[in-house]
Every structure is written in structure tokens, then in C-alpha cells.
Symmetry: C2
Subunit: 144 residues, 2 copies
Amino acid sequence: MGDEPATKESHTDAIVELLFGLTERVRVHSEIIAGEFDLPLAQAAALLHLRDPIPMSELATALTCDRSNITGIIDRLEERGLVERLTDAADRRVKQLVLTRAGHRMRDRLHTRLYGDLLHTPGVTADLASLGELLATADGAAPQ
Amino acid sequence: MGDEPATKESHTDAIVELLFGLTERVRVHSEIIAGEFDLPLAQAAALLHLRDPIPMSELATALTCDRSNITGIIDRLEERGLVERLTDAADRRVKQLVLTRAGHRMRDRLHTRLYGDLLHTPGVTADLASLGELLATADGAAPQ
DNA sequence: TATTGTTATACTCTATAACTATA
DNA sequence: TATAGTTATAGAGTATAACAATA
């Protein structure tokens, strides 16, 4: 991987650079939109995953973090009346996370704002166009 | 933007979905690699920006965060002997951030690991391939 | 014994506001 | 007056380990 021709090296390097750049732009965009709902990013990300009821552990998996983490995040969403913990009848260890009506409304509005505007953010648009070109001329993007 | 044909809607939706997915994968990948160097993500990101000397405020701009934030991050990197603060002779308010030799070594190794492996991460490879296809058939990706 | 979720703990990140030292 | 960086403060995220309830 280090003995590739220089042209290939800079080509994949450019893709990686764009990916990191896009990641940062997506993060900033998401933080701004989440801020409009007075939500920290982690709580907004959790809310998005709660369209249907799921157990705490499943949310932890979806967010790639520890279970102990979820407790605090859900605590804060619950305090705001957006989520409820329902004990699962089939396995009483499990808490099913269920959105309240207010939670559903906010989740849907958040989703709409987040998805609707991302592709119209100046930096993202430009980066995506560049990435598209690179991937089109790429043989190194998806090596098999 | 809400009155587009259904086909276009799902097309851009798929791109956005992929972008958020890629963002999460890049974050997880970066956290794992940073962990190999025993660095929290924020410190790793800072280190990557310090190839050449820059003032604190410029680093804050690069990381899209408040200046007060940088103080703590640089404190911890300095405690580990990776960075030094040099007072700028031309403007004595400014502190130029300069990597030590150990800092340079770690920054370069970090950069190599981070950039070298990203495109070989299974999920990233698959997502990029899908994104490439979508962008190739896309007229909605970079509207002007 | 194993698993789900919580708690206690410790560290890091983050922004705001007030401060200092320089300009 | 304005700017660069710091400090104090407060809230949030994060993981580890130990724990209670349930399986």
C-alpha cells in the first residue's frame, strides 16, 4: 500500500481528504440544526433513532457507544417529555424506548430539517461535486 | 424543495443517508485510530492541524470551536510533551503552537494510519461505492 | 451464570462570561 | 478600544467497574 505509484497515492489521498472534510461539515451542519431544537448533538442523534420503540441496548449499538452512556442521554430526553421508558412485558429487564407525541413531532421536524438542507449547504455541495468526479475517475475507490 | 418528483426525493435522500452513515463510520474509525495513540479525538484532530506552527485562534477556527476550548486541549498535549507554546515576537499576545520532535513523529504516524486505512474499512468502501453510483446518475447533487 | 440497565467515578469536551496582557 | 489567550464555571458526553433485577 505504500509502494503504489505517486498518481494513485494522491488520488486516494484526495478522496480521504474530502471525506474528512465532508465529515466535519456534516458535523457542523448537524450541530447547528440540532441547536435550533435546543438539543445537543448526541440527544438529537438518539432522537432520530427512536422512530419505532427499541431497547436501550439497541440504541447503544446504533450510536456506537456504551450502554451506561444511553442512561444519561435518555434521562435528559425524558425530562423534556420527549421519551418514555416502558418495561418490556416479555423480558422485564428490558426497557423499550417510546417517543411521546411531542417527541414524535420533534423527531420528524428534526429529520426534515437535517435531511432537507444538507445538500444545499455550500461547502457540502462543492465537496460532493469534487468527490463525485474523483469517484468517477477512480479505480482505487472500491478495490476488490 | 418539497414539491420535487418522488424519484428525485428518494435519490437525494439516499445520498444524505449515505453521507450521515459515512460520517459516523469516519468518526468511529478516527476514534479507534486515535485510541491506538492514546489520544481523545479532539486532541488527535488538533495534532493533525499542527504540521506547521499556527496561533491558538487559527486552530480554533480550523476545529470550528471556541478559543477557550483550545486552551485545555493544548494543555493536555503540552503535558505529554507533544506541543510547545512560543510567544510570537511580532505580536506578544499571540502564542504560536509548535510541535516537539515527539509531536511531529506522532502526528505523522497518526496521519499515516488515519489516511492509509480509511478506504480499506469495509463499511466505508461499500458506502463510497454506493455514493459514487448515486453521484454519477445525479443531477441533483450539485444544483446551480 | 449471563444479561439489561443503573450508579459511581473520573476525565474530556464544550460554550459563556469575565479577566490579563498586549496592541 | 480591540484582540489573543486564559480562567472560572457549568453542563454534557464518554468509558470502566461494580451493582440490582431479571432471566
